[in-house]
Subunit: 154 residues, 3 copies
């Protein structure tokens, strides 16, 4: 029987968008049945128009093109600049964009789930999200998680 991977994706930044999509697409390629439950800030990953930013503040472990003191990182515009630099580096290295990885996941039958409670909490209109999502609750996802071989909270 196929192995199962459950992912609870809770972060909405550019850097933390990579782990869930890379793990999901890799597992799907290996024949896993994959379900990704996007909740809290992770709902950003399901938006039609992705607007994800790198966050460096509070993230001293981030290898950056040049080191910057925390104070500077909080300057207006710095976050946008770092996001641009990160995207450039990704592209230069042939790493797929989040949009591309997400499409790859969908093509590979990764099931993308949106947390209904969070959607309600922040009054997010369904039109903001990509089509084909299932809107479910934690209980519904736990049913799958309980049967999964690997379940990760990201």
């Amino acid at each position: 029987m196929d192995k199962k991977l459950g992912i609870i994706a809770t972060k909405g930044t550019l850097d933390w968008a990579y782990p869930p999509f890379i793990l999901a697409s890799t597992a799907a390629a290996l024949g896993y049945e994959v379900r990704m439950f996007c909740t809290f800030y992770g709902l950003e990953l399901l938006k039609k128009k992705l607007d994800l930013k790198v966050t460096s503040v509070g993230n001293p472990g981030m290898p950056m093109p040049m080191p910057m003191p925390v104070m500077l990182q909080a300057l207006p515009g710095m976050q946008g600049m770092m996001t641009v630099m990160m995207k450039k580096r990704m592209k230069g290295k042939g790493v797929a964009s989040i949009e591309e990885l997400r499409s790859l996941c969908i093509e590979a039958d990764v099931k993308l789930l949106a947390c209904q409670m969070t959607v309600d909490l922040f009054d997010m209109p369904r039109e903001a999200f990509i089509d084909g999502l299932d809107y479910v609750g934690a209980a519904s996802f736990l049913e799958f998680a309980g049967e999964s071989d690997v379940c990760l909270f990201i």
Copy 2:
């Protein structure tokens, strides 16, 4: 046999307090045996007097009532203001407070565990914590985790 959910709760902010308590209470309602090991900053979740704050700095994925540049978010008082706004929104939407979710977990027999090593490290007095906790180490929790169906590091 009942399914088992292990949670390692390591964050002590208002926003990150929700996932462990929501998952724990939902799983318990589904008949899971649940143990939640609170360690590092996660020990804040077990304090008698909860004083959890939302953190927006370094958290660009957070959907906020109004967008704010990183610099502004670091201003004194801003964190408190965002915490108040978040709590209001939660309440207005009928989402339970962390105190309520925690009580729900205890009533549903979720076992709350405090990490003894962290308690010692920060000289936290036991009187600061709610009653009925077990104070254990990582080895003790791993025994349960090894038998669990789902184990999440939050």
Copy 3:
């Protein structure tokens, strides 16, 4: 048969370096086979010369010797000062340093894995890392994870 623990270590700060190494060494002591896949910022944990810092910005749950407003925490030098204070406290309490915990893990046969994709992405020279690492991809780690009893994303 021995139990298996898989860890995906993705954070590169002093505080978040503790959970993976403590869990890995504890599990190894209990007879677990442990593999730790270091990816993204988690690669910092495999550097020969560790230079990990505490991050307080965006981390209101952190119990600090004295409370500080967010603004102050962003001041130049403050991060370094907090790192020094944290290290002193750890040492005074007899908590092993990350270097010591890492050595302990290696002696206990914890398999440390470096994410080849991240190494390539940031042009990290192999000489910067400790010897004896395996450089692998997510697919390779997932094979182990699929057989593991516990798998954590940290």
